[in-house]
């Protein structure tokens, strides 16, 4: 479904990604874990097309989309839920969702987008009750739900999620991850970035451990959870937190 091949990128002249490769099969949820500053967000931005490639490729369903600009990559189904959510704070919940469906124009696609909106409200019932409220006035958890809902409105084939748990209470986190599980059961391909490696590996099929802009280790979630190095370095801080 999605393939990143020897991707090199950075900000200005500072290189951040040093040849990263990964794969997500159709309907799979993969996760990128690793310390703060390892380059996880940078990699998601590269997949979304926000950040240009110095070299390497991004391949979606066999098609090389490396040079497709962000806004057209959305149309091909690569949709990012960015770090910090980036909602349109002064606009209502409904308008944020409508903007998510910006590219779904014309009679049929529009009707589908309206059905999508109902599905988003079914996944996150609280959003239905906040429809007319400005996004900026929502709680952190509601904002994250809206960010995910808005991305779903774009009809993604691959959903890229950057730390959806950040700053949220455990109860809200499990609510959001329950929805992610449902989306995966529905066949959506996802790339999940998380600080909380244990949480991420519990939900994902396959994981990549990133260290300073490269993949240090990869494997099925079960293998990584059982791996001694991973336990020591990336899961240690989370011991006893369940």
């Amino acid at each position: 479904m999605l393939e990143v091949d020897a991707f090199v990128a950075g900000y200005g002249r500072i290189p951040v990604l040093h040849g990263v490769s990964l794969k997500a099969g159709a309907g799979q949820m993969i996760t990128l874990v690793g310390a703060n500053g390892a380059g996880k967000s940078t990699l998601l931005k590269a997949i979304a097309g926000v950040l240009p490639a110095r070299s390497g490729r991004v391949i979606l369903e066999g098609e090389d989309v490396t040079s497709v600009p962000v806004h057209r990559r959305v149309g091909k189904g690569v949709v990012l839920v960015p770090e910090g959510r980036m909602l349109f704070g002064a606009m209502s919940v409904d308008e944020n969702l409508t903007l998510g469906a910006y590219l779904r124009t014309g009679g049929e696609a529009r009707r589908e987008a309206e059905a999508e909106r109902e599905r988003v409200f079914e996944l996150f019932p609280i959003l239905a009750r906040r429809r007319t409220q400005p996004a900026g006035t929502l709680s952190g958890g509601e904002q994250q739900m809206l960010a995910v809902g808005r991305a779903l409105m774009s009809d993604p084939k691959v959903l890229l999620l950057d730390e959806p748990s950040l700053g949220l209470a455990p109860k809200v986190i499990s609510e959001i991850f329950a929805v992610l599980d449902r989306l995966r059961e529905g066949g959506l391909t996802m790339v999940l970035v998380e600080q909380d490696a244990r949480l991420a590996l519990k939900h994902a099929d396959y994981g990549y451990v990133m260290r300073t802009g490269s993949v240090a280790l990869e494997g099925s979630s079960a293998d990584l959870l059982a791996n001694d190095d991973v336990r020591l370095i990336y899961l240690g801080a989370w011991h006893g937190r369940e």
Partner: protein
Amino acid sequence: METSELLQLAIAGLKNGSIYALLALGFTIVYAATNVINFAQGEFYMLGGMFAVLAFTQFELPLLVSVPLAVLVVAGIGMLFETLAIRPRKDAEPMALIIITVGGSLVFASLARHAFGSDALPLPEFTAGPSFLFAGAAIERQTVWIWGIVLVTVAGLTFLYSKTRLGRAMRACMQNREAARLMGIDTARVVMISFGLAAALGAVAGVAVTPLTSTRFDIGAGIAVKGFAAAILGGLGSPLAAVAGGLLLGLIEQAVIPFSSALKDVVALGVLLAVLFLRPQGLFRRARREKM
């Protein structure tokens, strides 16, 4: 002073203020999309009048064809200006882009001088006839046109922003350009359209006022100062505040006339400096509130 005289000043203030409002809208729309103050805005005003005169006197088109045609041509020029002069440097500091617009303004003015000469060029009123009398004050027919045009423009913009897909995309770009791109919005196109729209608004103002004042290649700079002052007064945020800023500036100008008519043309500069020093967020916004 008599009531009718006061009324006459108010009418003049609201007439000029409407023109400033249209220019202020142009400044505000471009600023919202790019954080750039477009100092070529006054030349779009000048070119609006020029192309209307050209179409009407040289090509002998009817006035009611010449006017919208001129507006469309200037909108095209605005988009071309953005594409050729702004977009290639879009990652530059806003200050660098602002200097480019100052350069653009000089280029437009000198091209206009070569193309149209340096004489003042007249245009007939949109509808001929005597002024209307209202409580002892006279209202020129063209003034009524100007008010009507401003009302229709404001209604049109309100509709654009609140009800259309393009307007929603424009507002999304104002709030967060990167997020807008993640929605699939072609933000470069939105910026280009914003320049076109601002140019069209400048041209509308220029065309509407030319029957009263004529037009000349060098009138852009003077009106730009007033439009800019009005935009700053309105806080460079919401379109409605820009309109209010324009009307207010027009009225303030008339209010000083009884004391010294020579002062009228420095009022805009005075207002500009006063607002920048005392209330940089404009009159109608609380400090640091989000745009739109």
